[in-house]
């Protein structure tokens, strides 16, 4: 089974080489997992600029953003990627949740509407990618439909997926729980906010998406 899967991976990799196309890597996950925080850190480290705004209010990112030609060096090898920061995926969006953060009703309804469009955009981007970094909040239950759907999509397409178990700076985080939920995929425990293990993440990125 491993062989077939690996063959599938290698074919997409070969195709990529022959087309001389940069790998497109999507950063996916539920709202608030820390996708944009991670994207900003990657861009700051390798390009000097930033991807987008970060907030503790969910659905801060409501349009996918692409940064082309990000070169990451790790252990003497370099990979150049297009990185897409996507809106958080969800199956439900209730404008009342935004009002709880102090937004007025009109603002909350607009945010909810834009958030639904953002989710659709993120789903559509799945067809355009060569790999995914799936960001999960390691303080939360990993067995969610969003995670199951993203992983299922990548497995069906035989595309590489790297799990970033984020927020390990928080005391109640448990990357081990995520690993036991999805043991078949490589996982790096990180803090996108404080930078813990980011070098390890770059090494895995170079290995899996290079």
């Amino acid at each position: 089974m491993g062989i077939i899967k690996r063959l599938g991976l290698n074919f997409t990799w070969l195709k990529r080489i022959f087309k001389k196309k940069r790998a497109r890597i999507g950063i996916y996950g539920p709202p608030n997992a820390g996708k944009t925080t991670l994207a900003n850190r990657i861009l700051r480290d390798w390009t000097g600029d930033a991807m987008g705004s970060v907030s503790n209010v969910p659905h801060e990112t409501r349009r996918a953003r692409r940064r082309e030609g990000v070169t990451i060096n790790s252990n003497g090898s370099a990979v150049t990627l297009d990185i897409i920061d996507t809106p958080g995926l969800a199956t439900k969006i209730d404008f009342h949740d935004f009002m709880a953060f102090g937004m007025n009703e009109e603002e909350s309804k607009r945010r909810a509407k834009e958030a639904t469009e953002g989710v659709i955009e993120a789903v559509k981007w799945l067809d355009e990618l060569d790999g995914i970094i799936l960001v999960m909040d390691a303080t939360e239950d990993p067995y969610t439909q969003v995670n199951v759907t993203v992983i299922g999509n990548m497995e069906a397409r035989k595309l590489p997926l790297l799990i970033a178990a984020n927020k390990i700076d928080l005391p109640n985080s448990s990357p081990a729980r995520i690993h036991s939920a999805f043991p078949q995929h490589p996982l790096v425990p990180i803090s996108a906010l404080e930078g813990q293990n980011i070098d390890l993440l770059y090494r895995e990125i170079a290995e899996h998406f290079g």
């Binding site: 995926l89 439900k92 209730d94 989710v119 992983i151 497995e155 036991s180 999805f182």
Partner: protein, 119 residues
Amino acid sequence: MKGIQLDLISEDKLDGMTSMEKVRLILDEVRNGKILVLEKGLTPSEQNKLIELTMTEIAPDDFSGIEIESYPVKQNDNFLNKLFGKNTLKTRLTVIGPAAQLKTIKKDRDLISALVSTP
């Protein structure tokens, strides 16, 4: 008797439907307040369609989306399927309901525990 309708949909019925028919059926039933249990879940691409369609139907004070829970897709270990490059992913039991009425309490590898409330 008042209560919430629970529909358990068999694998055979699901197999006889196209992806769009499945997704449409699920959303129509859930919007009518039903909780659905699918014997065999949705493929990843059907899950995508369901999420997209759900998003287009969300409206303030009317519909805030769905709660959906399933077990992670399994690799199908059938040797012939793999040899001939057939889809080796096996979808599994899935529960779907209106987000306003169905709330997942706990979920792990072997157990989905949910709370159902009346509208």
